[in-house]
């Protein structure tokens, strides 16, 4: 479903701040794969996400989504295949617009936007049904402005908006990191449920090692722009946080350093 070959990316080339963000990344996701990504500070996790979604272009290498090469396709056109949830709960929704208007925007992900009404009675019923899957009662507040929702509710809505049109790939960029533990649990649970129900091919960056081990069928660990560890489903079941940290030390010869990491 997703195929990345020899992806490299240099930040600030030729300046004193030059930094290798990605160095020859090879990554292949099968349809229905749910891959969690962990890594130390500056490992290149976010850059990886940005290159898949088209926010950044790689210096070299190729990206294929569902068989088609996408390096030259701009972000807004690539989004027909990609659903994204950001870390910031404010980032995935339009605050001055109502819940149903936000849903209507998401509904048109891969359609032409013309002069037909965004919210019709028929679409409203469909949006309500989708919203009820969240179990937050948002389907009863469809005329409320999204800016009035709590951070957790907004993130749940972002997740639904990114997924209900069944994208080929779902990118989750630390989407629970800015929430308090109870809300983070809620969003994690919803993520698991939605990904399972829709069999979405998913790439999820997280700082929570326990979460990275518990969710998904494959785990990759990044460091200094490389994938240093790729744990397949069979080995992932027996994995623990301690073993993961030991593994990192064995490969890198240094301790895992991340000021935000949650060991779980």
């Amino acid at each position: 479903m997703l195929e990345m070959k020899q992806i490299s990316k240099l930040f600030n080339p030729g300046t004193p701040d030059e930094k290798v963000a990605l160095a020859g990344i090879q990554l292949h996701l099968k349809e229905g794969d749910f891959v969690t990504v962990i890594g130390s500070n500056g490992a290149g996790k976010s850059t990886l996400m940005n290159i898949i979604s088209g926010v950044m272009t790689p210096d070299s290498g190729s990206v294929r989504i569902a068989g088609s090469a996408v390096e030259a396709i701009p972000e807004h056109r690539r989004s027909q295949w990609i659903g994204r949830v950001f870390q910031d709960p404010m980032a995935g929704t339009a605050p001055t617009m109502t819940i149903q208007e936000n849903m209507a925007i998401a509904y048109n992900r891969n359609k032409r936007r013309g002069l037909s009404l965004g919210v019709t009675a028929k679409k409203r019923a469909m949006f309500a049904q989708e919203l009820s899957r969240l179990g937050l009662g948002l389907e009863n507040r469809m005329n409320a402005k999204v800016g009035l929702l709590s951070g957790g509710e907004r993130q749940a809505l972002s997740l639904l908006m990114a997924t209900f049109t069944e994208p080929r790939i779902l990118l989750l960029d630390e989407h629970t990191a800015a929430l308090d533990p109870a809300r983070a649990d809620l969003i994690t649970g919803l993520t698991q449920q939605i990904v399972q129900d829709m069999k979405l091919t998913t790439l999820m960056v997280t700082h929570n090692m326990e979460q990275a081990i518990r969710l998904g069928n494959r785990l990759i660990m990044m460091d200094k722009g490389r994938i240093i560890l790729d744990v397949p489903e069979s080995e992932k079941r027996g994995l623990t946080v301690e073993r993961l940290l030991k593994e990192f030390e064995r490969i890198r010869g240094e301790k895992f350093a991340d000021d935000r990491v949650v060991l779980g």
Partner: protein, 305 residues
């Protein structure tokens, strides 16, 4: 006084179209667009030249609308494709339009006396309200279409709307074009109403538009799009009444620009000052509440000792 009020009502109805245009850029797109000062004159210029050369007033007004849209499209292109800051893009276009408008008009002033215009045979106070309401409803409808939703989201959260497949460059260009089309339409009607077009007729128009939007929102609210567009129209009319009142109490017509600027300054800074004061009050209240609680806890603790 009665005549003055009726006069300001009429003017307010014409300027309301301009204010609706400013509302699109300023509020919906969050794009402070100064093209308005130029495109308002462009509208007046195109209408005046065409009508004085014998074109049908309706065609002339339509061409004015299109001319304004083209001017807006240029500003949009400068901002999105040449990556020029939105304020600067508007200023550049405004300056460029000054020369273009003079080219269109051929001289600084075109009188429209003795020719038939759209306004000649109608009673403004009877017809214009319907025209404005029709325009308002069309705009409300547009802002609820799929394209309109994308436009609103562009001003609200660019990153989000891009992740749902919208090219924000396009929505910005569409929005700024539409806005300046309406501004030019307003200019064309004002030229016909006052029976002349002149090169300076658009000076300060952006501030008048902002004043109308802000006054309207402050008095009549802006909770929904339907409400907000209504507020902008009423704001444009209230602004004209305020001007009439200011003239009556002895201010000169030349003082109006200063007064308008002051209205906008006060209206823009007042909400910020108000929130800050409110926040301070809440903090003071909560701190004293917490202190009281702590005080109670301490006395309790002391009793136990």
């Amino acid at each position: 006084m009665g005549d003055a009020i009726l006069g300001s009502l009429e003017l307010g109805l014409f300027y309301a179209i301009m204010a609706l245009g400013v509302y699109i850029t300023f509020r919906i797109l969050d794009f402070p667009d100064l093209t308005v000062d130029g495109s308002f004159t462009t509208g007046g210029a195109i209408a005046a030249v065409m009508i004085s050369h014998g074109s049908s007033p309706l065609l002339a007004t339509l061409c004015a609308f299109i001319g304004g849209m083209l001017a807006g499209a240029c500003t949009g292109l400068l901002h999105t494709k040449a990556k020029i800051n939105s304020l600067l893009a508007g200023i550049l276009m405004m300056i460029a339009l000054y020369s273009i408008n003079l080219r269109i008009m051929g001289k600084a002033n075109i009188p429209l006396l003795g020719v038939d215009t759209l306004i000649t045979n109608i009673s403004v106070l009877w017809v214009m309200p319907f025209v404005i309401i029709a325009l308002k409803l069309a705009m409300d409808w547009f802002l609820h279409t799929d394209l309109g939703l994308a436009l609103r989201a562009t001003g609200d959260n660019k990153r989000m709307i891009r992740s749902f497949g919208v090219n924000t460059d396009n929505t910005i260009i569409v929005g700024v074009s539409l806005s300046n089309g309406m501004v030019a339409l307003s200019g064309a009607l004002i030229a016909q109403y006052s029976a002349f077009a002149e090169i300076t007729m658009g000076v300060g128009m952006i501030v008048i538009g902002l004043a109308s939007v802000i006054i309207g929102e402050a008095i009549f609210g802006a909770r929904t799009v339907f409400r907000a567009t209504l507020s902008v129209i009423l704001g444009a009319i209230v602004y004209r009444l305020v001007v009439a009142l200011a003239l009556r109490v002895g201010l000169e017509a030349t003082d109006m620009k200063l007064m308008t600027a002051l209205i906008v300054i006060v209206a823009l800074s007042l909400p910020m000052i108000r929130t800050r004061l409110k926040q301070k009050a809440v903090i003071r209240k909560r701190t004293s509440q917490l202190e009281q609680l702590n005080g109670l806890a301490e006395t309790k603790g002391g009793g136990n000792r």
